[in-house]
């Protein structure tokens, strides 16, 4: 087990290096000059530009910049953004917001998604099954930004049930409920469908039939034997989805004005703030890979047939 984890982590290194290099190269290629917006509607003076470029290593060729960046990164220094604020400080604040948002979205996925899936699976072919199938289909078809805008309009503006936008940097948890639901909406639908499919499949399996034949109640058969097996792919899905949630947050955070990681990346791209973008994405990729590793380990716990020896 320990060996397995070490191997996986070692494998992550080239992936992280490769992914950050691709991102670094794209950010490097961003057209425009980061200083051009610094001086209002006027071009900055050549002296100002020169000082700025010097300070942020912008005169080096790409590999050198990347090397310098990596050197600092390994020491835990994520650099400073163009506002002179350490990216680490910014990220710490913003990850607590986006992290909360993503976790809440996952809670929605687990509670609503699995519940709907189980209900539909157990009552296959009945009304509730059709309802779940049809409604998930609709949710999957509507792009997140459309759902977000429509719900924001209905709940936030028309009915005034929740704040339409998330106020400032503190982002109280109550104001994140709607955005988290929006962020997770499509995944909720996928989780429900996945749970249903697997449950239906497993309910037909021989071991369940045997259990029922031996006199087990259906509730027990579903609860103890089938559900656990049916949830394995669901767990994988949710794990894989976590990274997607962090990325998809760009859209949701933009709609609800949440000062999270997604908004930070968007702003960083717009102000040509290479260090901010690369650092944020790098952390994101690492988090994503770690969550995937965690999921694989969980796999072994849930399904004894899989061993990591």
């Amino acid at each position: 087990m320990g060996k397995y984890i070490v191997r996986r982590i070692l494998q992550m290194i080239p992936v992280v290096l490769g992914a950050t290099f691709i991102i670094f190269a794209m950010v490097f290629a961003l057209p425009g000059d980061p200083t051009a917006g610094k001086c209002g509607d006027r071009p900055c003076s050549p002296e100002y530009v020169a000082a700025f470029r010097e300070e942020h290593n912008l005169n080096d060729p790409l590999p050198v910049q990347y090397g310098k960046y990596l050197g600092k990164f390994v020491q835990g220094d994520l650099g400073t953004n163009y506002y002179g604020i350490p990216v680490k400080e910014d990220l710490a604040k913003r990850y607590t917001i986006t992290g909360r948002l993503a976790l809440m979205a996952i809670v929605f996925e687990i509670v609503i998604g699995i519940l709907a899936g189980v209900l539909a699976g157990v009552r296959k072919g009945r009304f509730i099954d059709n309802l779940v199938t049809v409604s998930t289909l609709f949710v999957i078809s509507i792009p997140v930004f459309v759902i977000g805008v429509l719900l924001q309009y209905q709940f936030g503006i028309k009915w005034g049930l929740v704040p339409a936008t998330v106020p400032s940097l503190e982002a109280p948890t109550s104001s994140l409920i709607l955005p988290a639901f929006v962020l997770g909406s499509i995944s909720i639908a996928y989780v429900a469908r996945l749970t249903r499919t697997n449950l239906v499949e497993n309910l037909r399996a021989d071991y369940v039939r045997t259990a029922v034949a031996k006199g087990l109640t259906k509730r027990r058969a579903v609860g103890v034997h089938t559900l656990r097996n049916s949830l394995i792919p669901v767990v994988t899905y949710i794990g894989a989805d976590f990274g997607g949630l962090l990325g998809g947050a760009i859209v949701t955070e933009r709609i609800f004005n949440i000062q999270g990681v997604g908004g930070y990346i968007w702003k960083g791209i717009n102000s040509r703030d290479g260090v901010a973008v690369v650092s944020t994405v790098t952390v994101l990729v690492i988090v994503y890979l770690l969550v995937n590793l965690l999921v694989d380990l969980l796999y072994g716990v849930l399904d004894p047939r899989i061993s990591h020896e």
């Binding site: 078809s141 792009p143 996928y190 894989a240 791209i269």
Partner: protein
């Protein structure tokens, strides 16, 4: 955003893909009986028609903005009303289909090709090639599709005079670059499953060239799941295109796109929500059509679900 598909596609499905021909015949037989399939085909047919001959549906010029008649509610002249520029929303919505359909179809095809080639080569040859391709796949897999799309489109923005196909082609390119990994992984595992079979070993022993083995023995057996995923991806790519356009960096004028229309309508959502409604509706319907198709095709190819 492409993750859902990989997981949504039951991993065990390939176990049964032993006799390809009969399976695809089987699949077709079950497809024919599926209402879902025909509904989706019908819808897609309508959208494709819109993409090819929009003038069949509307005579109004979608680029004529009447500044003195903006934000009109739906009426007899303008069925869906007019937007902030005074454009006819119905005409804009019809013409908007083209971009979505082209992007969806083209990107699905290119990812299938790129992912397929890399997956097959990695799975078939194994060794250092497999190791290399797998790491490259991992690297691209680790960058979320939307994020990669945003960065790429921001790095290589459209120029002042880019023509329609360059603008659309760029979106297809970015979806290909960041969207091929699911297919590649799937192809590789399919190939690995097929490779040890006796008939492949026999063909090798008889000295068949690698290309021949891939073509006549590996592909027919490994292609089915990839096609299923590619079909489902169609809907995903349309959504991503709309999202990029919504963010202002996907398709840009003169291209007319649902994503752009939705983003433009946002400002008036509090006062004139109908401007937002119609492009959202069409976009969702188009995605729905492709998802239905994907579902139907998957069910057809997956005997277990029957």
């Amino acid at each position: 955003m492409s993750e859902p598909i990989a997981a949504g596609f039951s991993p065990g499905a390939t176990d049964d893909v032993d006799e390809a021909r009969s399976l695809s015949q089987d699949a077709w037989r079950s497809l024919r009986k599926s209402t879902m399939f025909w509904v989706s085909v019908g819808l897609i047919g309508v959208f494709v028609l819109m993409a090819i001959w929009p003038s069949l549906f509307t005579q109004t010029d979608p680029t004529f903005g009447d500044i003195n008649n903006v934000r009109a509610k739906p009426n007899a002249d303008a069925w869906f009303g007019t937007d902030t520029q005074g454009y006819d929303i119905f005409a804009r919505t019809i013409y908007g289909a083209r971009a979505s359909i082209i992007v969806g179809l083209a990107a699905s095809l290119t990812t299938l090709l790129l992912g397929g080639v890399i997956g097959v080569l990695a799975g078939f040859y194994g060794g250092w090639l497999d190791a290399l391709f797998s790491r490259v796949t991992d690297i691209f897999y680790a960058i979320p599709l939307i994020l990669g799309g945003i960065l790429f489109m921001a790095s290589f923005p459209n120029g002042a005079n880019s023509n329609y196909f360059v603008v659309v082609g760029k979106v297809v390119l970015v979806l290909t670059v960041f969207g091929w990994t699911t297919i590649a992984r799937l192809m590789r595992s399919s190939v690995l499953q097929v490779k040890p079979n006796e008939y492949v070993l026999a063909a090798r022993a008889l000295g068949a060239s690698p290309w021949r083995i891939i073509k006549s023995h590996i592909l027919p057996n490994a292609l089915a799941p990839a096609i299923v995923v590619a079909t489902i991806n169609l809907g995903v790519f349309i959504v991503v295109e709309a999202t990029l356009s919504f963010l202002g960096i996907g398709l840009t004028p003169p291209a007319i796109s649902w994503g752009v229309a939705i983003s433009d309508a946002l400002v008036a959502v509090r006062t004139y929500p109908h401007i937002l409604l119609f492009p959202s509706l069409f976009l969702s319907l188009a995605v729905l059509a492709f998802i239905l198709l994907g579902d139907a095709v998957r069910d057809a190819f997956d005997p277990k679900s029957r």
